[in-house]
Structures are given as C-alpha cells and as structure tokens.
Amino acid sequence: MNILVCIKQVPQSESATVINADKTWIVRGGHVEYKMNRFDEYALEEALLIKERLPDVRVDVITFGPERCRDVLKRAFGMGADDGVHILSHDNRYNDPGTLAVQLGREAAKGSYDLILTGIMSEDMMQAQTGQMLAENLGWPCVSSVIGLDLKEKRAHVKRELEGGMKSLVRVTLPCVLTIQAGINIPRYPTLSKILKANRKEVKTVPDTQIDPLQSCEVIQYPAKQRAGVVLQGSREDKARELARILNQKNIMR
C-alpha cells in the first residue's frame, strides 16, 4: 500500500508579521523560524502508524513552496517518511488553492497511491481546500476533518468531527483523500538516526507550473476591532492593579 502525505512549511509564529507598504501582502520581519504545519504533522503521523500496523506500506511526502521548504521534507524523513517531492515555487504570495491542487494532482498521479492524507488546513492561509480539490482532480472521493481512521477491505472507515463534539462515521472506498483534524494521534518527534539518514536522502525537485488563478488577493488589512480593546498601560504592577479594580467593579473578585 502506498500513502502520500501533503505537508506544508509555515512560520513558527506570526507575531513579527506586518502588512507591506502598498497593503497588498504581508512581510515577515526579523529572523523567521519555520516549522511543519501542525495539522500536517497529524496527517504524517497517521500515515506512519498505518506503516507500522500493516505490511508493505510506503509513505511518501510532497510539499510546495520556495527553497526553504526542503527542510520540512527532511523533518518528515526524520519522522519516518520514505521519499519526498518538492514542487519548487517562485512566487510566495497568495496562492489560489486550486492552482496548488492541480500541481499536487499531477505529481500524485505519477505514483500509484492508495491513500492521500493532508492536514485539515494550513495554519497560515487557513484555506481548508487543498485536500478536497486534489481529490476532485484525481476523481477520488474525499472525507474531511478525520479524527479516527481504520483501513479494512479496500475501504477507509473514518470518524469525522462535526460541531459541538458530534461525530459521523463514514465508510469510503480506496483510493481516497482524507484531510486530518488535530487530536487524531500524538505526532512523534524525528529521531536522530533518521535525521542523519535524511540528510543523505535525495529530494526530487520539480519546477512549479504557471496556472491562471481563479482568485486574487487585492488588499490586506488588519481586522476591525469588534470590542473596545482598551490596552492597559504602565508597569506590570500598574496593569495588575487596574485589572483588579475593573474586576472588583464587576463584583467577581473573592
């Protein structure tokens, strides 16, 4: 059985990120640290658990992005992934998920995969679209928001998370795409020996293709404040005193 996991590199934190001068995109200030998208870690872990459970399972990873994204494939190798493809992109702005899903689909079609896993969304762009679109491009079924997975008789038996703690139980034929929700497992850390091996591993790099996007980001702005948003000033003690005064006024202090 062959499994492909789509992973993305995202910034560790957005705290130094600001809007650029012409308000068309963001600029990440200072030294930016990157990591594997948290939801993709769950997807990769789920694939690795299947590999441990069943015989003859191969787990490949694929990513899309600039040069630096090679690191996220190395991390995946460190966790136990077998092989990796890097679709090297040049433009690092707002990507229409549709154009990304087409390119992932082309690469995925070259392997004989039975199952493709993605995180439910990326932490930075929060689209929650790529997996579902990839499935459609391949003509495969897709189930999103998966928090339980079992493979039996050429089918995936999955538990989907709905609102308010409800879940639905879905049976879907293979091959299929599943988008994985956080909490399905506890992702492992890469091991030192695997990281060392990963450094010697070849990453297959393919160029990206220009595809006309169906949507574009025209303007970027800070969200409007929905409440007063009074910022407490002064020293830590000043702020603590002011908070105590406000809470006393509301009569909720002991």
Binding site: T17, S144, G165, R171, G183, L214, A240
Partner: protein
C-alpha cells in the same frame, strides 16, 4: 422553480433548521443589494418538509427541497452531485455555504467541478469601484484579513459563522418546491452518528471563565492559570483546542465551535491567539479580557480589555497583589 443567481445551501440538524442558514441568507441579501441578483435557498436530505416550511417562513425566500430518500445524514458525495447539477441548471454566479464541517467538506470539490473560485471562511463583504464583490477572509490565525476578488464566472463561498447576523423576521413566507432525486453514492456511505461526549456543564453554568491557550508555554503553567482562576469564586477553567489536542486538558474544558459555545459575564483568555474557531465559541461573552505577549494577537480584536505582557509573570503579579 425558476432560475436564481445565487444558490444558498441551508443546513439542518435533527429536523431543525440550523441558525447559520439565516446568516448565509444575510450575505446573499447583501450581495443582491450590491447588484441585481436573485436568491434561492436549497435544502438537501429526507423528511425535511417541516424544516423547509420553517426556512420559507424565516427567510421569505423560495425554497427548493431536494429530497433524497434515505439520505438521513450529510453525505458529501451526494451533496456535491446534487448541488453541481443545480448550479449548472440555474447557471448561478455564486454558491453560498456555511464554513462548517459540511460546507468546508464539499465546497472545494464542488468548486473544482464548476471551474469556480472557492473562497472559504468569508467574514466580510466589500466591493470594488465597479461594484464587483470583494470577499474578506482571515489569514495567519486571524491577524489579518485579505480582500479576495474572484476571477471565475461562478464562485463558491463558505461563510464564517457570526459575521452576517440574521435579519428581522419577514412577513411573507416563500414557496417550497420539492424535487425527489434517487441518489446514492458508490464510494461514500455514512454509517451513523456519534453524539457529543458529556456536555461541558461547568462551562455552561459559570459566570466567569478563565481559558488557557498555547501561549501558556508548558503544561506546568496550567497550575498558574488554575491558581489565577481560583481568585474568582464560581469560575470555571476553559481551554483552546490545541491544549485539548495535546492532552493537557480534558475535552470538557474545550471552548470553540468543536467544543463548548459559552457566554459568561466575564471571559478571560490567557495566552489564546484567537483562531476563528475559538472566537466563535466565546464571542457572545459579556466582557472579554485577553492576556497575551503578542500585541497583534487576533484575540485582542474581540476583547474589551487587552493586557500585553508575559502571561505567567503577569498572573503571578496579580495573585501577589490580590493576596496582600
């Protein structure tokens, strides 16, 4: 039912119309006010006569009930097939769905089938100088909003809950038309539902909720948050989803769309960045206080009082102050 420009897909649960459907209608109406667009509301499933009448009464829109015998639960494959056919038949400019476990499940695949742009998590509507709609959506954990322009003839939207409040009751109910489709999925079967685990009763009752997020840094620091919460009698401890996913807190503490939706008098968010899924679970609280080291954290946009400081340092200082 004659052709409509905007196809709105309503949601229902346990034989009731979901309130989010009314928010989808509000967005549709605002778009109709921008240009000349007509709206049609579609409901899919079985045994929905009551739901459809209720929807027609509450929205004043004509309802198309696509009845699928035996389709008791949401099935993404069936939804995609039926909505695609309807969107093509009406030659629609937009499909509006909820940014929910259902809407986000089928909208992107539907968009591929319709060669449409898919804009997810829409939280605002603006327009260009030529009156073309621009849809706002959050990125980077809610720190920024992007204004997105569609470049396709048809556009599929998923609407973030809480941003397009339901409009007032209408006098004249719409008409319900029913079409029955025998539709089964070869690939996807929904076997059943699992009800929610025990309701988060402590959160539901509490006048004050102190919630912790990833910004607390380590599991040990939860004790600092617990001591802080103990300063307020009758308070309950909440948490954002990542803490529950990491196993630091039990599910019954989870605040957000996938956990408990709460509305206490005072909500104190400690080290919570403010993801849309969390905000939708606490935004109706009476008074919101946020403590976070990052001055740009999205939680501050929905806070009455903002404290930018190191969380543990601040809480300990507050405790010392109160104890003396």
């Amino acid at each position: 039912m004659e052709n409509r420009d905007i196809l709105i897909i309503g949601e229902h649960l346990d034989g009731k119309l979901k309130p989010s459907t009314l928010e989808l209608v509000t967005l549709g109406q605002r778009m109709a006010e921008q240009g000349t667009r007509t709206l049609g509301l579609v409901l899919i499933g079985d045994h929905l006569d009551g739901v459809c009448e209720d929807a027609a009464r509450q929205t004043g829109l004509d309802i198309l009930y696509l009845r699928v015998p035996g389709c008791d639960y949401y099935n993404g494959d069936i939804y995609k097939t039926l909505i695609q056919a309807q969107a093509v038949a009406w030659n629609v400019s937009h499909v509006i769905t909820a940014h929910s476990s259902q809407g986000t499940d089928y909208a992107p695949g539907l968009a591929v089938r319709l060669y449409a742009a898919c804009i997810t998590g829409v939280n605002g509507l603006e327009q260009t100088e030529n009156g073309e709609p621009l849809f706002s959506r959050a990125i980077c954990g809610g720190n920024f909003n992007t204004l997105i322009r569609s470049q396709s003839r048809c556009t599929v939207l998923t609407v973030q809950p809480g941003y397009f409040p339901a409009r007032d009751h209408v006098d004249k109910p719409g008409q319900v038309s029913t079409e029955t489709h025998e539709c089964v999925s070869e690939t996807t079967q929904v076997m059943g539902m699992e009800k929610a685990r025990a309701a988060a009763s402590a959160l539901g009752q509490a006048r004050i909720i102190v919630s912790a997020g990833r910004g607390i840094g380590s599991e040990e620091n939860l004790d600092v948050v617990r001591r802080f919460a103990a300063l307020f009698p009758g308070s309950a401890l909440g948490g954002s989803r990542p803490l529950i996913d990491m196993g630091w807190l039990e599910y019954k503490h989870q605040v957000g769309i996938t956990g408990a939706v709460v509305s206490p008098d005072v909500y104190i968010a400690c080290g919570i960045s403010g993801s849309s899924q969390h905000i939708a679970g606490m935004n109706t609280s009476g008074y919101v206080i946020a403590i976070n080291t990052d001055p740009h954290a999205a939680i501050f946009n929905v806070s009455d009082l903002c404290i930018v400081d190191d969380l543990v340092g601040f809480m300990e200082a507050f405790e010392t102050l109160v104890e003396t």
